[in-house]
Symmetry: C2
Subunit: 264 residues, 2 copies
Amino acid sequence: MTPEIQKDKRIAFIGAGNLATHLAQALYSQGYEIVKVYSRSEESASELAKKVSANYTTSIKEMENFADIYFIALKDSAVEKVLSNFNSNDRLLVHCSGSLSMDVLKNHSSVFGVLYPLQTFSKKRSVDFSRIPVFIEAVNFQVLSTIEQIAKDVSNKVIHLESSKRKSLHIAAVFACNFVNHFYHLAGEVLSEKNVDFDVLRPLIMETAKKVQELNPYEAQTGPAVRFDENIIQSHLEELKGKENYDQIYHLISTSIFEHHKEN
Amino acid sequence: MTPEIQKDKRIAFIGAGNLATHLAQALYSQGYEIVKVYSRSEESASELAKKVSANYTTSIKEMENFADIYFIALKDSAVEKVLSNFNSNDRLLVHCSGSLSMDVLKNHSSVFGVLYPLQTFSKKRSVDFSRIPVFIEAVNFQVLSTIEQIAKDVSNKVIHLESSKRKSLHIAAVFACNFVNHFYHLAGEVLSEKNVDFDVLRPLIMETAKKVQELNPYEAQTGPAVRFDENIIQSHLEELKGKENYDQIYHLISTSIFEHHKEN
């Protein structure tokens, strides 16, 4: 099989959220034909369909017999429910979830797999898909080969990873992205109480991320907790007292830093 | 006063750690004369001295009468102790701490202030100092003016901020940098158990930081907690059970994301 052969396959998207939008656009820009987009929301469906010259529908039944490959990019909890109303006619089903097992698809087709791009997607922001690590899995070698060729058309970093490991990957991504972003938010909240603008944190945030592009985060750590500077930690905890559970979070994470760095 | 006049002043550094190294180099590259560097560690003192063509000493007494301006860049808990053995002869003392009040200097000179660059510094990494926000404070207007001119020579973003607000700034930096970096580390630990390399997280980490260079973190949030995806959260908590206090951290931060995003 060659990538050209894969590109003859008609692709449909079940789901039109952030991940679906970026993946569909990446495939489309590589020459794949996106035939149809389904979303419960007509606005989302039509918006994505327009970007990739596809049709769209808000009825999952209307997706049947339309494509060779169906990418399923829904909220995890919606996957079972949507597929229960969909007859795949044994076409290739590929879900894009970090945490769902591949086997959620096994009652819906005999050919199925997973393609999980590890990135945080927002519709407003364009990303260079070719640099995103893409994790794939499939029910058999032939399907894996098909998914791998598609994945390699959009990403330079394609990794075969089984479901149980992919779940850990998703947990790691929650820490490294969602929790990190929440700490940006909490930091901004601390500043806004003193009328200091979030903008002053931006160079620090960038440098913190840039540092670990070369170093590992263990070496890169700085600040009062890793220096075991109890005076500062206590004075920060005092300052945070009464502000929601900021002091609890501060204490828990400082202790965790301390524990990790004293071990070695 | 003009910047040129400030550059006639001889500068000394008490402390030769990460912050001292970057600030001294930034001043030196702007034409300031760094006359002497003190550190308890001869290795640190000589290393920095070499970079800025200065002398060095490991005896704080030998710093006396050497300079017009002393920058104090020590671990907070060391400042009082080191200064108690140092006679400033009423020269300008400027500390670089985020959390120490300006007033820790008042028994050591009549002219004193603060210059706090908000950044994470590592000796191995060069940073563009001109883009680092620098927060200044001084005992009186004249001293503030002196410190401001020096600060403006090294940074394009100089902000006057009183001690109590600077403390909040430091807390915000702990969240946005040290705690964030620790989450990079925890994410890497989750992956290493499954033999997945930290490197796969690097594009995600960069994009997470880049996003908030434009958006605010509240808008930028993605992931299971902000989607209130209880299934994923429970399955992640199950997976993390027994791994130190990872489940406790996961639960606390997910709950915090939930609380912040349900409010609005």
